[in-house]
């Protein structure tokens, strides 16, 4: 990209609280959670299972309401207790369990956005999609259906389906969970490549701390439920990164720092679980 392009997509999370089922079970998933994501910043979210990470993603994406607080995108309120929320093409999501349309081919999946928005002709969008696939070495799979592909390839296609819309923010919910170490490495290089080609705000949820530090500009560690920010660890390693940095001292120290914070919360979550069972 050219350096004078202004990158948009700064997100502010301000005192966001989310209570599921307020009339009944009252599950408080987030409480007064606040933090900032800079435009073009690769933000990693880690935290114990069930702490409220997906809840936050759904709120930013406009899939679900929040109980109080406010979420802003480039200064505009996109979610608050008052605002009628709505998903938008400026915020794209890659889902925890994958959400490619099984009845569409790879090309049809990728071009779905531009076509349904009436932004591009089908044929032009298909050409663009083919180019994108080709660029990442997946030129051969355009006419296949998702179920014919390995999960690693499916994930890449889903990411391309998001990127073709030039969103300000891309949100990924544990996208590489269940892939083996080699496949993950391929995915990281893929993400690194597409991110460098056009930086945008990334919101990336993961359990894998190596992945967190390897990919992130900063790692936001969440507390056990209700989610709040426990700690933010900036990762000042230079971009683009190569896998051998995982052996550097700086990297190992960062990992130690994140690990300690995560471990503390995991222990709390475990004890809370014990209490609930008792």
């Amino acid at each position: 990209m050219t350096t004078h392009d202004k990158i948009e997509g700064a997100i502010s999370i301000r005192k966001v609280t989310k209570i599921y089922d307020p009339e009944g079970a009252r599950v408080m998933a987030m409480k007064d959670c606040s933090f900032e994501m800079g435009a073009g910043e690769f933000t990693i979210i880690v935290g114990p299972s069930g702490c409220g990470k997906t809840t936050l993603l759904n709120a930013i994406a406009g899939f679900d309401t929040i109980t109080s607080g406010e979420i802003l995108l480039d200064g505009d309120t996109i979610s608050s207790s008052l605002k009628q929320i709505k998903p938008n093409v400026d915020r794209m999501v890659v889902f925890q369990n994958g959400a490619l349309f099984p009845w569409k081919t790879v090309i049809e999946n990728i071009t779905y956005g531009p076509v349904v928005q009436d932004r591009m002709k089908k044929s032009a969008a298909a050409e663009l999609a083919k180019g994108m696939l080709h660029q990442v070495g997946l030129g051969e799979i355009g006419d296949k259906y998702p179920e014919e592909l390995s999960s690693g390839v499916q994930r890449r296609v889903e990411i391309l389906r998001a990127l073709i819309n030039q969103p300000k923010v891309v949100m990924l919910d544990e996208p590489f969970r269940g892939l083996d170490a080699v496949a993950k490495t391929v995915m990281h290089e893929f993400l690194m490549e597409v991110f460098c080609a056009s930086p945008r705000t990334m919101f990336f949820i993961t359990h894998d701390l190596d992945e967190a530090i390897f990919l992130g500009h900063k790692v936001v560690i969440m507390t056990t439920r209700p989610a709040q920010v426990k700690k933010i660890v900036p990762v000042a390693l230079p971009w683009p990164r190569e896998h051998h940095i995982m052996n550097s001292r700086e990297y190992l120290e960062l990992k130690q720092e994140v690990l300690e914070a995560v471990h503390e919360e995991a222990k709390k979550a475990f004890e809370a679980g014990e209490r609930e069972l008792a």
Binding site: A61, G62, F63, K86, P87, N88, V89, R91, M92, V93, F95, Q96, N97, G98, A99, F101, P102, W103, K104, T105, Y112, G113, V116, Q117, R119, K144, Y145, P146, E147, E148, R161, N165
Partner: protein, 257 residues
């Protein structure tokens, strides 16, 4: 060439063998005069009647009558049932207004509708169409409804992030997403349809394979009864094949591997 090879697999040979074994067993049972089964005709008699039937015009007329009845009732059930099920799945208000009544009527066996159908519809054909319709309708609707509710919410969310309006979500996500269930509904519905049709023809019909079989019974023509049964079996099988073919055409993403 590839296709030829596929037809003669070990498995199809076993299948052929099972039919031959069945006929041999049948022959033995009749030959040995097994108690209660002494009225059973020999396979050869059935074959002779079968060959005779196939050459007669009335036999094929009965096929035609039955197929038209199935076709009309079944298509009507799809045309009304699929949109009905989709509407139930897509709109909570519509579901609230219809589901309880629907669930009360659903367990009534289609055959139990026969008396009412005969009384209310002005012609015999209409009553039979209606009965066939009832046989398929409830199954279609319940399958479509299940199909719609099984569509993962992430697919709908993904579509709306990508810029789909509610009508796009309905037509481009809900409809193709419930297609596998629609086809399942059709397959099961087709089976029930033949059940109902044959019962209706035996009780109320004029012409048709069911009536033909029943008349063979009243004339005490046992080989012809068996010919009728086999014909019904073949007809039902052909209809199921047609649905399967339709499913493959409609869902290319299910076929390729």
């Amino acid at each position: 060439m590839k296709k030829m090879k596929k037809i003669f697999t070990v498995s199809t040979l076993r299948g052929l063998l099972s039919i031959i074994l069945f006929v041999v067993l049948w022959q033995l049972v009749v030959f040995a005069k097994v108690p209660y089964l002494e009225n059973l005709p020999y396979p050869k008699d059935v074959a002779v009647h079968g060959v005779e039937a196939v050459q007669s015009k009335t036999y094929w007329l009965n096929w035609e009558i039955s197929l038209i009845r199935v076709f009309v009732g079944f298509i009507a059930a799809q045309v009304i049932g699929i949109p009905f099920g989709l509407a139930m799945g897509a709109s909570k208000v519509f579901r609230d207004f219809t589901f309880s009544a629907f669930e009360m009527l659903r367990p009534v066996p289609p055959i139990a509708w026969i008396p009412l159908a005969i009384l209310f519809w002005p012609t015999r054909e209409l009553s039979i169409y209606f009965l066939v319709f009832v046989g398929a309708f409830f199954i279609v609707v319940i399958n479509v409804l299940q199909g719609v509710s099984n569509i993962s919410v992430s697919l709908k969310w993904a579509a709306s992030s990508l810029g789909a309006r509610p009508k796009d979500v309905f037509w481009k996500i809900m409809v193709p997403g419930s297609l596998p269930s629609i086809i399942t509904g059709m397959t099961v519905g087709m089976g029930v349809t033949w059940n109902v049709l044959i019962a209706a023809e035996m009780i109320a019909g004029q012409g048709g394979l069911g009536r033909m079989t029943w008349e063979a019974y009243t004339n005490h023509n046992i080989p012809l009864i068996v010919v009728g049964m086999v014909s019904i079996g073949v007809a039902g099988y052909l209809c199921s094949m047609a649905i399967r073919w339709l499913g493959e055409q409609a869902m290319p993403w299910k076929k390729r591997f």
